[in-house]
Symmetry: none
Subunit: 179 residues, 4 copies
């Protein structure tokens, strides 16, 4: 995947079509321009992310709740792993202003909303400001997974998922035992 090696700006249409063993003409037959390809790729990721956000399990200080959280984080990791070239490029785009950044903000928003909802179900409420706590947690999961997936830190999937689950659990339920 060309995006992987060079990111959006580094990926020349020439590279893309060579990698796909196609021609320039074919490329512009299916995409109206380079950004359009990127949008299509991002749309796939966005769809996966939307489903993922919706499948965030109800949480509770139980063993099964903990396991479900681990499963969910594992899926998060897998999506990031699978789409990481696109996600790299998207991160690149998010660093600028413009459409793609707005789309990124929407997806972020969706995760935060789902998490806020879950946190609202917890009794007693674990934090004063669920919105900010949700932002913090989403940020943690997203970026730690990103760094692991792109190899900026040497962390294996299981170690990452276990630790994120543990930290989130503690963050949500304090020291409460898992029943």
């Amino acid at each position: 995947m060309v995006l992987d090696r060079r990111g959006y700006h580094g990926a020349r249409v020439d590279d893309i079509v060579k990698t796909a063993r196609a021609s320039h003409g074919t490329f512009y037959l299916y995409f109206s321009n380079k950004e359009d390809l990127f949008r299509a790729l991002v749309a796939d990721v966005t769809e996966e992310m939307r489903e993922l956000a919706e499948s965030l399990p109800p949480v509770g200080p139980t063993r099964s709740g903990y396991d479900e959280l681990r499963g969910w984080l594992g899926r998060f990791y897998d999506i990031y792993h699978h789409y990481h070239p696109v996600i790299r490029a998207w991160t690149e785009a998010n660093a600028q202003n413009g459409d793609m950044a707005r789309l990124g903000a929407q997806v972020l928003r969706r995760f935060i909303d789902q998490l806020v909802r879950r946190v609202g179900e917890i009794d007693p409420p674990p934090v004063a400001a669920p919105e900010v706590a949700a932002l913090a947690m989403v940020s943690m999961v997203e970026r730690a997974t990103f760094y692991a997936v792109v190899g900026m830190v040497p962390v294996e999937r299981e170690a990452l998922v276990d630790n994120l689950a543990a930290i989130l659990h503690v963050g949500l339920f304090g020291g409460r035992r898992r029943r």
Copy 2:
């Protein structure tokens, strides 16, 4: 700041010199190329970050430890706020491979190392894998601050710092009371 609006690739040398009310010639008198300018800007941030990493306070389940952590997070926020155009561009560069991404990995490493050291001081050790926990915490702080600073989420400095401090405190010391 041109980097703010457009990121590294979006900021043309022409824009940069216009913004600086200088000429192309002058630009190349002081920087050997566009990347060189960016390196210089990043070097400033890197230096701040290095100092910041070193000033990570010893932590403990005390009120003063908590306050120091808040102070430190506030400084983190302020640096991000001040340098956010550069940091955006850096995020963009980190999303690609290459020198800048390696530099980003180094800075990340430094934060993780410092945090691991602090976590190592805690007795009993709060987590099984301090490295991964440290990655998670750095990721959380970094990205939540980034999203807040660039306006992708509407969170104020104080709310952010308070919540991050609370979450980190719980993460490090579980439900232990602040003495």
Copy 3:
């Protein structure tokens, strides 16, 4: 008709086959290339024009001569109206050098020759240089009709034909009465 909206260069083969509800393959089955289609279209017009040039009536300062001239101008208008997309494209091609311009020059020549012949029949000869007078008259008829037909000026068929006939009549026979 695609030529109408966009002219020769603006009419892509893709547009042409879409308009004709055919495929690219079929197009190249019947025409060896895009220019070949245009040549075929122009050939139709050229043939019409050839016949029209030959049917230029003998002229004279009589009412019936005047009426015949009017009829002829009406046919000129009708051909231009019918073929105006092709004629637009041809005008476009005439504005360049090359084969099509040469073909345009031939057709122009044919009209001039016919008109010179008619003018030669007039006694006394109305002008010193029949060739140039013929050029002027052909130019007048051709371009005024073109402007009217393509809508660059708001003139109706009858008004145009009447006036052109009157002017030509005066030009050929001066103020002489129509007998």
Copy 4:
């Protein structure tokens, strides 16, 4: 002049800059795109045409009126001769729809208006529909001059100007003697 040989579509930016002994970069320093150059060239011609339209002399069945008309037609010829590459390209553009054709229609309009005004001064009025007569006369002058200038017909400047003047004079004043 590159437009001369090939017209607008045939003139590649590459040819233009080679002819001008400049580089692509320089071209795009002064014009935002290829059409922009063409617009600039046409603007020059448009300005000349505007002045020419305004300088259309008052007409009358006098020798001096006739001479002024000849002078004016000579200036028309000279402008066409000088700008003929641009005028060819403009004719090409007029053959399509779009901005340039609208601009062409405006210039045509201006000539017609001026001529209608002059014809309106004549007593008795020479034609029933001055608008259409003016269109015919402008068409005649424009196209005959075009054909002569681009070499589609072999007519010299003096012969053209003399004959056009004679025909216009007859058209306007019938057989009336030049006083």
